[in-house]
Amino acid sequence: MSPAQRVLRATEGERVELRWSADEPLVLHLHGYDIETRVAPGKPAVTAFAARLTGRFPVAIHGEGGSKHHHRALLHVEIHPR
C-alpha cells in the first residue's frame, strides 16, 4: 500500500495514541489537531490526543528538504462521528 492510502480509524470521543519508531530523526506533524512529535532512532515517541474533532487528518513529516514543494502525507488519521 502506498503511504497516501494508509489510514488509521478511530471514533469521536476515543483517546488515541500513535506510537512511532523510526530509523532516522524525524518531526511528525498531525494536521488539524496540530500536534508535533519528534522521533529518533532508539527513541520511540508517542502522539496522543482525545479525538474530539471529526475528520480526516494527515500526518506529515516536517523539516524535510525545504518543505516548499508537495509532500505526500505519511498516513491519514480518520476520526469518524459516533
Partner: protein, 437 residues
C-alpha cells in the same frame, strides 16, 4: 534509504503538544459514507423524474417582487469599504509578515473573498457590480473592442487565475498576492482606458464575468438604478438569449475548475510529486476542452436546432450543479478556516497590532463536524441538481414551440446533469489524499 515507521492505536497517556502551522488551504473532510452517497444519488434521480412531470406546464411567468431601493450614499459607503480592503490586501502583502497564516492577504483573498464572496453573490445577487474596486476609476475608451474579442480575454484570465489558485505553489505568499493584485489592477485599468470601462469589464474583467454568472443563481436581482427585486432562485438563468461562444466557454471553464479542484485531491489523481505541477497544468487546460466536447455532443442529441446554439443557450443551466458541488466541497472549510479573518482583521500585517480587539481570537475547529459536512453536502447537491433540471426545462419550453420537442430535448441534457451530479457525489465519497506541505 529505507525508512521504517510504525504507528499503532492504543490508550491515552497525555503528551505536551507543540503548536505548528497547517498547510494553507487544507481541508479535513471525511469521505461521504456509502449509504449517504446512495441516498443522495437515488434522490437526485427520483426528483429528476418529478421535474419532468411538473416543469412542463406552460404559461408560468417568472415574477419579480420589488424589495427595496439602495440609497446612493449606502452604495458609496460600501465602495469605500471595498477600496479600503483592496488597499489593505496590497499593503499587507507588501509590508506585512510573509507568513501566510499571520497575514491578512492570503486568508482574505483565498477564503473570505474567492469562496465566501461567491456564496454571498449566489445569495444576494451581483454585489460585485457595485463593489468592484477597478470600476471606481471609470475611464472612457480610446478604441472600440472588435465584437469578435467577446469575453475571450476573461476566459484566458480565468484559466490563469485558476492555475494560480489550484496549481501554483506560491499562491499563499502575501507579497505574491499583492504584486498579482497590482499587476491585475494595471491590466484592468489599461483595458478600461483603451477600450472603455463597460466594454472591458464585460470582456476582460474576469471577476465581473464570473460573479455575473454566479449572481444569476441569486434570488435577488440588482438593477442599475439601485433597486433590488426578489425573484425565484436561479431565475436569472431563464434568459432566453443564447450566450456568445466566448461566454459559453467561460461557463465551461467555471464548471471545470470546480470539478478539477475536487478531482486532484482524490486517489485518482495519484501523480508523483515530480510531475505534479506539469500534470495539474495540463489537466486544467485539457479538462475544459473535454467538457466542451461532451456538452457539445449532448446538445447535438437535443434535436431541432444547431448544437452550437443549444450549447450557448443551455450551458448556464449546469451552473447550479457546479455551485452545489462547490458548496459541498468548501462550506465547512469556509466556516472553519474562514474564521482566521477575525484575528487577522485586527493585525493584518502580523505586527502585533490589535485594531478591533479580536487579534487573539482562537479558531473554533469543532464548530462543524463530519456529520454537518455530509448532510449539508447531500442536501445542497440534490437541491442544485433539481434546480438545474427545472431551469433547463423552463428554458426548453421557451425555446421550442412544441411541448413534445421541448421534452425530447431534455432527455440527453437530463442524462448529462445526472452524470455530472453523480461525478460530484463520487468525488465527495473519495478520501482526500492531497499532498501536504
Amino acid at each position: 534509504m529505507s525508512r521504517f515507521i510504525r504507528a499503532s492505536l492504543a490508550t491515552f497517556t497525555g503528551l505536551p503538544a507543540e503548536a505548528v502551522a497547517h498547510a494553507f488551504g487544507e481541508r479535513y473532510d471525511l469521505p461521504l459514507p456509502l449509504h449517504l452517497w446512495l441516498a443522495a444519488a437515488g434522490l437526485a434521480v427520483a426528483l429528476s423524474f418529478l421535474v419532468f412531470i411538473i416543469a412542463l406546464r406552460r404559461g408560468e411567468r417568472s415574477t419579480r417582487l420589488f424589495l427595496l431601493r439602495i440609497h446612493p450614499r449606502v452604495v458609496g459607503a460600501l465602495r469605500v469599504v471595498s477600496l479600503l480592503i483592496f488597499f489593505l490586501v496590497i499593503a499587507a502583502g507588501l509590508f506585512g509578515t510573509q507568513d501566510p497564516f499571520r497575514n491578512f492577504a492570503p486568508a482574505f483573498v483565498w477564503i473570505a473573498w474567492w469562496i465566501g464572496f461567491t456564496y454571498l453573490t449566489a445569495l444576494v445577487g451581483d454585489l460585485w457590480s457595485v463593489l468592484n474596486p477597478w470600476k471606481v476609476l471609470y475611464p472612457k475608451g480610446l478604441f472600440k473592442l472588435p465584437p469578435a474579442v467577446g469575453a475571450w480575454p476573461a476566459v484566458a484570465l480565468l484559466l490563469a487565475f485558476a492555475w494560480i489558485e489550484i496549481v501554483w505553489e506560491g499562491n499563499a505568499v502575501p507579497a505574491n498576492i499583492a504584486w498579482l493584485a497590482i499587476g491585475y489592477s494595471l491590466l484592468t485599468w489599461a483595458g478600461m482606458f483603451v477600450f472603455g470601462g463597460e466594454a472591458w469589464l464585460r470582456s476582460g474583467e474576469l471577476f465581473t464575468v464570473y460573479f455575473g454568472f454566479i449572481a444569476r443563481l441569486a434570488p435577488i436581482e440588482w438593477r442599475t438604478n439601485g433597486e433590488l427585486h426578489l425573484r425565484a432562485p436561479a431565475a436569472g438563468l431563464l434568459d432566453p438569449r443564447p450566450l456568445s461562444s466566448s461566454e459559453a466557454f467561460f461557463v465551461i471553464v467555471m464548471l471545470t475548475i470546480v470539478t478539477f479542484d475536487g478531482l486532484r485531491e482524490t486517489p485518482l489523481w495519484a501523480v508523483s510529486d515530480a510531475h505534479w505541477t506539469a500534470a495539474a497544468t495540463a489537466g486544467l487546460l485539457v479538462m475544459p476542452c473535454v467538457f466542451a466536447l461532451i456538452i457539445f455532443g449532448i446538445c447535438a442529441l437535443m434535436g431541432n436546432a444547431s448544437a452550437g446554439e443549444l450549447l450557448r443557450l443551455f450551458v448556464p443551466t449546469l451552473l447550479p450543479i457546479a455551485l452545489a458541488y462547490h458548496v459541498a466541497h468548501y462550506l465547512s472549510y469556509l466556516l472553519v478556516a474562514g474564521q482566521v479573518v477575525i484575528p487577522l482583521a485586527s493585525d493584518p500585517l502580523g505586527r502585533g497590532w490589535n485594531l478591533f480587539g479580536s487579534a487573539h481570537y482562537q479558531i473554533a475547529v469543532g464548530i462543524v463536524g463530519a456529520r454537518f459536512a455530509w448532510y449539508t453536502s447531500i442536501v445542497v447537491i440534490v437541491a442544485g441538481h433539481v434546480l438545474a433540471m427545472y431551469v433547463a426545462h423552463r428554458l426548453a419550453l421557451a425555446r421550442f414551440s412544441e411541448r413534445r420537442t421541448a421534452r425530447r430535448s431534455q432527455y440527453p441534457l437530463a442524462a448529462l446533469m445526472v452524470a455530472y451530479t453523480m461525478l460530484s457525489l463520487w468525488i465527495l465519497a473519495q478520501p482526500i489524499v492531497e499532498t501536504v506541505k
